[in-house]
Amino acid sequence: MPNSKKKLLQGNEACVEGALYAGCDFFGGYPITPSTEIAEILSVRLPQRGGKFIQMEDEIASLGAVIGAALAGRKALTATSGPGFSLKQECLGYACIAEVPCVIINVMRGGPSTGYPTGPSQSDIMQAKWGTHGDHPAVALTPASVQEILTETVRAFNLSEKYRTPVIVLYDEIIGHMREPITIPEPGELEVINRAKPECAKEDYLPYDENYLVAPLAPFGEGYRYHVTGLNHKADGFPVNDSEIIRENNERIMRKIDENIEDIEKNEEVFLDDAEIGIFTVGSTARSARFAVNALRKEGIKAGLLRPLTIWPFPDKAVKKMADQVKFIVVPELNLGQMIGEVQRVGNGACEVLGINRVDGESIHPTQIIDLIKKHK
């Protein structure tokens, strides 16, 4: 059938396609607007291919079950939104320190608290980084289209499997619920990474072997009997009180991300080469920004867009380069100023940084960006 792989899909539907493409075979979730479609569709699709779907009793249990499933060898997913994401922070920290690969989709809605469930927001940018207590590695991806939700969900699984760490996909309700024509990739078209499995003798297996930055992870039930804990632990997974090992444990989980930033980072640049005015934003807001850049260019105003698809770890290098180049940077975001702080930190006074913020459940319109830039240039 010609064009059988072209589909008109909603963002959350594309997320499911991405997850299944990546080999997701477990979903544990809890209903929450505006992410529920992901659970609903996976409850139908997973059993068709032998996968497992479970609706847990709450948000905490959802990620708990996902971690359990991942330890049993599955590629596991959960999906949520603001309030649920808050509840998941406890298990998220566990997945970080115990180095359990899993993917968390957060379709961002207005907050704080129950806030505005059906309205778009980008209010969890900082929660994705700092939500769980303690220093921990944060990897969060920010797709801006339905097609990208698919590809970035695949990338989220890949990064999580490769680095044995939870990966968050953040997108706002606008792209979660909008419909766009997309192409479902053929098998083999996109890279799919599976976690490394141990090759050593079973009795020699160390789940946190210091000889690796990311040690292979054995699935439960295959003869590698080991211990997993949320306490600081040594190479064999057992808790320790030795300050040297505690430091190494805490630093290594950061290092595996820090030392691989180039692999994890992904940015799109629009007319940035000769830009005199920079825009930095993600998700639906980046769509307005792209429109604004094109409109401004038509008027001879040299605006450019830096759009990270990986918001955490933060694209320091790209932002620094932009800050050194442009007169000022505009950071439109659907919150009262979260990413802007990071842009200011990296820019460190190299240029002025201006925010455009909205928390009224409406999207940022291109004219808001255009007007501010024209006024300020």
């Binding site: 291919r49 708990g64 359990g68 499933a69 991942a70 049993a72 060898g73 298990c91």
Partner: protein
Amino acid sequence: MAVPAAKQRLSVPFDYDKYLRPGKLPHIWCPGCGHGIVLKSLLRAIDKIGWEKDNLCMVSGIGCSSRTTGYVDCNTVHSLHGRAFAFATGIKFSKPELNTIVISGDGDAMAIGGNHFIHLCRRNIDITVLVYSNAIYGMTGGQYSPTTPAGSYATTSRYGNIEPPFDPCEMAKAAGATFVARSTAYHTKELEKILLQALEHKGTSVVDIIDSCPIYYGRMNKFKSASHMMNGLEKDGTITVAQAAKLTPEEIGGRQLRGILHQAERPEYCENYDNIIVKQATATKGA
């Protein structure tokens, strides 16, 4: 004279080392704590049922009892406070062939993990849950728990606990667990037998194990020693279902019942789900 075969068997000490991780002892539990005794009964029950260590998974939460998982040589997870039930559900559901046991305490199972506990029971997923019930938060230094009897003392109930306790067995039964039993750390042989039945049971089995924390609960409630406490709470404070059947409620008094308190047959969660998978796979093929 030849020793009769039965006697010979009795004289061979049980090889606990077979199930314990080398180099992980001594355990962290205080002298007089019941947790080690419970673990021994559990290991004997596991041996009797003959489960391979490779296919055995133990998941615990947080607390003194939850440290058990570190000592047992199998697939072990020391999870989060109260969340062992959720982690274990994910593991068991992913790999039903893994024999899965949850080790928790009264704070873990009845307070912070209460919601997960009841839903695990409701699903009737084939997991055995051990609740080490010592009516106190030992790890944090002796605060009252949801099973602390009213009137008892703890570091957060200095004027006497005004809250009524939960009965984990009633809770498990009401929530849908299909095997519910109680024993104590004092009744080691009985506990072993009950645990074996719990392990053998298909579906959610819950065993509430009355256990002593002499260090906190004992000291705060004027028990002179660990043995005094065991005798008072576990031996004299309980009565078997069979014994109780012959007595009036007045005669039973405040004693807790030991033995199998509830048993039912209901479809098991993973098997139920597997039926969907088979049906769906056939339906998709046919389409």
